[in-house]
């Protein structure tokens, strides 16, 4: 998945907006955002952070400045374990021409030494929105790692894979209200082939209200 592959596939799929949320890294965002901008595609600057509980949380931001500050925080909290390329693959950083301009040598598939709560606080401190990722997945979701979504956790949205999953979340969490929760149904694509068509939409007004600014 290179910057041009991702953005052009998004255009082919007819998507209006994409968020790029690499695992524990924001270093690819600059070039992908530039390619997205050149194609007229709305872009959210993101990151999928893995907490000490091995829970995945998405941070979404409206500028590279904010994700650069997030990267400084990640660097302070990520253990330095060298990547094993044979096992985990290459962690390359590309420019807007899809040319490799850097390699992340540290293994990114690790947990930061911060809790779910500290991570959400940091995202908010930097002016971002925190979404609990793929909340019903059997790997690295908050329900799998922590049993359930804690009452009062100050997240801004829940990511699910389907409408059915919304009902399952509601059935197991009487303290979560359907209408006062912002639900994200998205593909969580890790490969180009997994990027969805325009199957799901978030109401424009709801999204702008949630995001707080024009995107």
């Amino acid at each position: 998945m290179t910057p041009n592959n991702i953005c052009n596939m998004a255009i082919l799929k007819g998507l209006d907006i994409i968020a790029v949320t690499d695992h524990n890294s924001t270093k690819q965002l600059e070039s992908v955002s530039k390619v997205a901008q050149s194609l007229g595609l709305h872009f959210l600057f993101g990151c999928e952070i893995q907490t000490i509980e091995e829970v995945h949380i998405l941070g979404l931001f409206n500028s590279l400045d904010k994700t650069n500050k997030l990267q400084e925080w990640i660097d302070q909290h990520m253990p330095t374990i060298p990547n094993k390329v044979d096992f985990f693959g290459k962690q390359e950083i590309c420019n807007i021409q899809d040319e490799v301009i850097g390699i992340e040598e540290r293994l990114l598939l690790v947990s930061l030494d911060v809790s779910v709560e500290e991570t959400i606080d940091k995202i908010h401190e930097l002016g971002g929105k925190a979404i609990l990722a793929h909340v019903l997945d059997r790997e690295n979701s908050i329900t799998h790692q922590l049993g359930f979504i804690p009452k009062g956790l100050p997240y801004d949205g829940l990511e699910v894979k389907s409408e059915d999953q919304i009902q399952r979340v509601l059935d197991n969490h009487p303290w979560i209200q359907k209408d006062s929760t912002t639900w994200f149904i998205d593909s969580d694509a890790h490969r180009l082939i997994d990027m969805s068509e325009r199957e799901h939409k978030l109401d424009d007004i709801i999204f702008k209200d949630w995001w707080g600014i024009q995107v």
Binding site: S115, V116, G147
Partner: protein, 110 residues
């Protein structure tokens, strides 16, 4: 075996010293994945984990564990301790890894 007899011998740090330890320990459960522990733990077990999130108190209450033993100096916030006191769930720290912690419990007859 009573929890107080067990802990008197093991001398692990008791983070909730005001709680009554006059309760039965029937066995041991080890696990950090809370969805799994919620589904498989049994009443009166001593639960060994390195998971320090607040949700451990709810899980221990749900499964009626006799205590939580935090292994290997995993961090646990003061507010989690406070919640444990409110919910009457004793918390100990073994300072040893999970396997060594469990071995000591086996030596004591569990």
């Amino acid at each position: 075996m009573k929890l107080n007899e067990l802990m008197n011998e093991l001398k692990w740090s008791n983070r909730t010293p005001d709680l009554n330890l006059e309760r039965e320990v029937s066995g041991v459960y080890c696990g950090d994945l809370l969805s799994w522990v919620m589904g498989n733990g049994l009443p009166d077990q001593a639960w060994i984990t390195v998971q320090g999130h607040m949700n451990i108190i709810a899980v221990a209450g749900l499964r009626e564990f006799s205590c939580i033993i935090i292994a290997e100096d995993a961090s646990i916030e003061e507010e989690v301790i406070q919640k444990a006191i409110e919910e009457n769930i004793p918390i100990f720290e073994s300072h040893l890894p999970v396997f060594e912690t469990a071995k000591l419990l086996i030596e004591k007859g569990l």
